[in-house]
């Protein structure tokens, strides 16, 4: 019952024999050994498994590996280049938008598409835009700030301070 598929992940081709029921997230994590994409639930609710498929953010736990044949898949491992970190990675680091880091890859992949479609999102738009990604550690404040910072960075605007603000 297995099928031979080739997944193009971060530009590299991975050919594998999979059962049709194999979830894309397992194919990425186990067959392609890219474990940066995580699994946090079994009901498509948490977004820890978020990747990009042809540029669209997707919950890879709710997509079959066979469906991804021939598509361009991007995972967290592909964000940094020889030139350095992706702005979203910098944004998350500088704004303390991660604690345990488990939701972080999915959250960043989601944020990338959000900013792609809406380079200048309001706080409200960011909050709704990441509503498919649960974070149990950060309380989301700094994730919102990180996405705002990244928005400025990607548009070459003046960068907001990354010092914490207190009342």
């Amino acid at each position: 019952m297995t099928k031979k598929i080739t997944l193009k992940i971060n530009g590299a081709e991975h050919t594998m024999e999979v059962e049709p029921r194999m979830l894309l997230v397992h194919a990425i994590r186990e067959n392609a050994s890219l474990t940066g994409t995580h699994i946090g639930c079994d009901t498509s609710s948490c977004g820890a498994c978020t990747i990009l498929i042809d540029g669209k953010s997707a919950k890879s736990c709710t997509i079959l590996a066979v469906q991804a044949q021939g598509k361009e898949i991007a995972t967290v491992e592909g964000l940094a280049t020889a030139e350095g970190l992706h702005p979203i990675q910098e944004g998350f680091h500088l704004n303390h938008a991660l604690h345990c880091g488990f939701c972080t890859p999915g959250m960043m992949m989601r944020a990338i598409e959000l900013l792609e479609k809406n380079p200048n999102p309001t706080e409200e738009e960011i909050r709704w835009g990441i509503s498919g990604n649960l974070c149990r550690c950060t309380g989301y404040n700094n994730i919102v700030t990180a996405i705002q910072w990244t928005s400025a960075k990607m548009q070459g605007k003046e960068l907001p301070s990354t010092e914490p603000k207190f009342v």
Binding site: R21, T43, S44, K56, I63, W128
Partner: protein, 289 residues
Amino acid sequence: MIAENFNYDAPTSLEEAIALLHQYGDDAKILAGGHSLIPMMKLRFASPTHLIDINNIPGLSYVKEEDGYLKIGAMTKEVEVEESEIIHAKYQIFMDATKLIADPQVRNFGTLGGNLAHGDAANDHPAVMIALGAEVEITSKDGKRTVGIDDFFHGFYTTAVEHGEVLTEIRIPAASGNYGSAYHKAERKVGDYATAGVAAMIQIDDQGRCTKAGIGLTNVSPLPFRAKRSEAVLVGSDLSEAVIAQAAQYAAEDCSPSEDLRGNVEYKRHLVGVITKRMLNKAISRAKK
């Protein structure tokens, strides 16, 4: 959570898909966005032996106005509806509804056809389609047939789409004149299925009389529900506060919610009343713009 095993095909034409459905019989299922079906298969609530993925069939994804209809291809994704210019300009109800359906990742995959074909009164588009008076085009090996939305939903997870058939298009009478529509649902948290949802469509003539009204309710009846008494009281009226209150009250009385974690019967009826009032007012103010 892992599904039972199955065979997978990804045909590139509708004919091929229909032939495969016939070949594999009752245990074959169509895979559209997969965001209702795959979660159910992972939980082993559904165990089809064959999946026919229709994502590779061209021509099933569009939003356009044609022949007096707004036509939406069955494979059109929520996100494509959200981003469609026609929708922004004239059918704001979809903006209201899509924002409240699941989350952006799910909306990148979930299709409008799948949302209806799933046959779940908890989904949001059924009520929207009821309010808008949609009809659904279904294709089989014998050709195409059209089913009015009121005849579409047959029971829990069952619809007018029979085995060997594919839902191919949704048609909505095009907005004309002073036309407004709106949707809202009460939900326990963002992305949740509705505790109670109300879709409203209103058309008004130049004298301020209501010429057309549609009200569909989400998740407060075993089947997606049309609030007929409410519509009747609205059509021909001047849409006064009292009429709206009456329509809201009828909707609350006529639905038949059941008690669950989201609320008891009284609470859900109460919400239907409040949201019906609010959505009618919103649709009216949009119609007047």
